[in-house]
Symmetry: C2
Subunit: 337 residues, 2 copies
Amino acid sequence: MQEREGVPDLSIVFQSFVGYQKTEALRAAVDIDLFTAIGAGASTAQEIAARCGASERGVRILADYLVVHRFLTKERECYALAPAAAMLLDRASPACVASMVNFLASPQVMRGFARLTSAVRTGHAAGGDEALAPDHPMWVEFARSMAPLARMVAQLLANVLDAPAGGPCKVLDIAAGHGLFGITLAQQNPRAEIVAVDWTSVLALAEENARAAGVGERFRTLPGSAFEVDYGTGYDLVLLTNILHHFDVAGCETLLRKVRAALKPGGRAVTVEMVPDESRVTPPDAAGFALAMLAGTPSGDAYTFAEYERMARNAGFVRSELHDLVPSPQRAVISYR
Amino acid sequence: MQEREGVPDLSIVFQSFVGYQKTEALRAAVDIDLFTAIGAGASTAQEIAARCGASERGVRILADYLVVHRFLTKERECYALAPAAAMLLDRASPACVASMVNFLASPQVMRGFARLTSAVRTGHAAGGDEALAPDHPMWVEFARSMAPLARMVAQLLANVLDAPAGGPCKVLDIAAGHGLFGITLAQQNPRAEIVAVDWTSVLALAEENARAAGVGERFRTLPGSAFEVDYGTGYDLVLLTNILHHFDVAGCETLLRKVRAALKPGGRAVTVEMVPDESRVTPPDAAGFALAMLAGTPSGDAYTFAEYERMARNAGFVRSELHDLVPSPQRAVISYR
């Protein structure tokens, strides 16, 4: 909330009340592939409409809105992509993350937020454990939609873990989703072997991704609940990417104990998460993520590093360290057995 | 969409995809009256929770989110209101506009946005004429929720019209809603007489507001559709506040012709609206408003001054002028008979 010359700015309150309009505008633009059309040369509302199979009136109003919010620029009647839209929202760009809107603003996730007042009153999302049921379809949507962001974070993580320098390495990827964290390690280290745990429906997608990445022969799957399936033992590395935030501290410690038991001596558990600073109000994306856990889970949270460190210690790990994965909003906590 | 040091900022895309979360966070905070509780001295999550009848965990996560988005500040575990929240969101403040969220993010309005892709494709909101049906309950919600903003805009308009200096003045307030535009003129000019047109259910609220403002005896009502009801004649002033944006150009011209016929020679029609500049992409609130018309009406729009001027001329008005109503996002178009 900002102020102009000391006068509280009504516009900031107004824009925040209608924040959902920004979500829906971007969703509509991604749905009709407006950014890709402009990237490919369509410029006027008429040209964009023709390429997107949409109406000129609809495109004119949507594109003007996207200029207001700086995703596009406008000179006379011609629209162009702002640099960030060109990189992140045009499907022709290798860094395009447009599909994220399909998970981040999915009906299921938005339904949780529509009941936020009740979650604030009670401290827990009513029906928040629904998504934790076996083979819930939202995790297939997650695996599809979030893959482009995961590709970027997985590269950053592989750098932190110095994957290319690695020798033989047995990796357990828990709640693997798209599988890209393990797959990226396997691409960089030809001696890495991946075992991916997730629901059957999600693992089908992960296997597809592994084959497409040329590492299908070193990618095994273990379908079932992370809390119940038998991991086996002798792992060098266990990946816990974007899973611990769903659970309360006791749940996280239970899982971390199980992970520790599967690790070799000297092995590492790698937690990739939205980790806010100890103040819990910075950095913005990681700190704001706690609200999604209030809205969408029975008692999950965006835990701080001090909290992850304590949970890992209680689970028997000797020490933990925090690594930024800039420019992604995520961080890695590496805990040593 | 901004950039940091020339690198496209993933966070802006991420935050825009989850824009709806800001809406829901503010709605929840308004629902439990969190800003009022902090304004009254509650400071820690525990104290705020106790005063709001909410959970400490829920309040802690919500309040941290509101710090991230600068509605609150946080020092150690103590929260305080940012200046704009103190003025605009604490119900103890006379300028509080918190209730606006109940209309701006009402289920009806949000449903329209949830179908935005289809509106962009076809150029028209499917079911967008629903709200134009007689006595639709959304207009009672509008009249209640938007009254605090209307009070401010009505004062600014009364200044533009130089109401206190006025002699006898017969005012027709079309789609009066809360009635506050006419009521404010009646308060400032003791010789003003108001006739308010709206649906019966809405006029009950307007009459209540007129009595509370001490102008009940100079406030008459005329229930029915603005397009169908007999206005009578001899008006000095006809107010068209936030109504023309619902209709296409032909609809606006039809209404303006009817208005002109009800005016005395020398009389004025006063349109209060979100009026973007001719570029249609500034100022932000007015320009962005066109999207709400695409999502919520069959063929409404945020018209520019040139468009209002042309429509008024086609309806027989001799000239029109544009007045800002700063710091509100609205503007007034005064058209002379």
